[in-house]
Symmetry: C2
Subunit: 252 residues, 2 copies
């Protein structure tokens, strides 16, 4: 776990800031306040554990680059991945808000994050309420993503689930500039995707082949190219959602 000294321009080009600015206007003073509470950069190696279920963890880590998964292991050895974590996401939601972390987070690739103490962020919220609102917005978006995930595993068929996952992943990666218009590189193995979607690896593999044979996607390996986005969205019951911006403070 490397902890580098905080340089001057931590937040330059930071995908978390990119995401924040989609919800709320922040002036340079706001950004400096945010930067002031960052207490370091964290680097974790591929396969490293960022958070282990049961830990006391009271930090927020803003992912600069790399991929991770938030998951829970059941006693029978099964793993459910709750969410894939992409650049711009926060590690520590929801774990840091509980007495002990309720889920584990593990790095899929090498990953770099900017970290701050939860308490410091909360103090920032008292001074600059827009950060509290931003956190609410992000948490609500997180909840909506989870909700869609419930529908995936609860009522969508395996092929619909997989389609939905691919479309949503593409949309989320687009926000932080990690995709091309109709294609992208999958950062995740089939084992990971199977654990996201609550299915077995062989079955996931078969569904992947079926998407290819039905000419909905192309590309081999970790490459996904959407051939017919419309058909794919219809199959997946996919619907792009748009968060409202955070209303600015009323003039007094």
């Amino acid at each position: 776990m490397g902890l580098a000294a905080a340089a001057g321009t931590i937040l330059e080009q930071h995908p978390f800031v990119t995401r924040l600015l989609q919800h709320v206007d922040l002036d340079p003073a706001d950004l400096r306040s945010l930067e002031a509470i960052i207490d370091g950069e964290l680097s974790i190696r591929r396969r490293g554990e960022l958070i282990v279920d049961g830990d006391e963890f009271r930090k927020l880590c803003f992912v600069r680059d790399g991929y991770a998964v938030r998951y829970k292991l059941l006693r029978n050895g099964k793993r459910q991945i709750l969410n894939v974590i992409l650049p711009g996401d926060i590690v520590g939601v929801p774990g840091s808000f509980y007495e002990r972390a309720i889920y584990s987070v593990s790095a899929i690739t090498d990953i770099a994050m900017s970290a701050c103490a939860l308490d410091a962020y909360v103090q920032l919220c008292y001074r600059r309420p827009q950060f509290g609102l931003a956190l609410s917005w992000i948490a609500i978006q997180e909840a909506a993503t989870y909700a869609e995930h419930i529908i995936d595993v609860g009522r969508r068929t395996p092929i619909e689930r997989l389609s939905h996952f691919l479309l949503e992943l593409h949309a989320r990666l687009r926000v932080v500039g990690r995709v091309e218009a109709k294609s992208f590189t999958l950062p995740f193995s089939q084992e990971v995707m199977a654990d996201v979607l609550g299915m077995s690896v062989p079955h996931l593999n078969r569904m992947m082949q079926r998407l290819r044979s039905e000419k909905l996607i192309a590309g081999s390996e970790r490459r996904v190219e959407f051939i017919d986005v419309g058909a794919m969205q219809a199959l997946a019951h996919y619907q792009p959602y748009e968060l409202v911006p955070i209303p600015p403070p009323a003039r007094v």
Copy 2:
């Protein structure tokens, strides 16, 4: 949709306030500010729709009494219930934060709520940042509930799912004083529970019988009495979680 005039003591004994006070200290002035933005009481009849998928809805409704479900209908007619809504919960999370509601909400019993405009709540957050933090905390708790639900439908077996649902429901109802120590009255039909848990009604029914025959619960109809809470929790992989309180503002 009845809209009664706001009386003086809207928030007296309001289960939403009960929940807020578990996270954060609010003084009487805070509560008056909250009360000031409530623009009315809403009553909906059993089976009424509170929100329809696709609506523009920009309110937060704090449930005073009654039960509802947040759900999505797929084109094939299947319904996935994302969450059951209990007294003290907010209707409008996450729907009001999107341009158009992304889920529907429908009343299971008659339901009474206090409503305010989302924008008014946001303005309150600028004036009193603890309300922004409270919203974050509630949204994060919502996300964690959804996460547990993902594990239910993704990796827990049907009987584990059902056990988990019953235990969690009991815990949530306890916070707002709607249960006895080891028993409670189910507000939901088996059809509703099946749609929560992503299973068919007949199968849910069989699992319910199995819980009874294995002496884990007793009670018929809508009555649930836990006989062996420990065994039930073990079966369900259930774990009670505790949110940290919102840190108070630092002394200056």
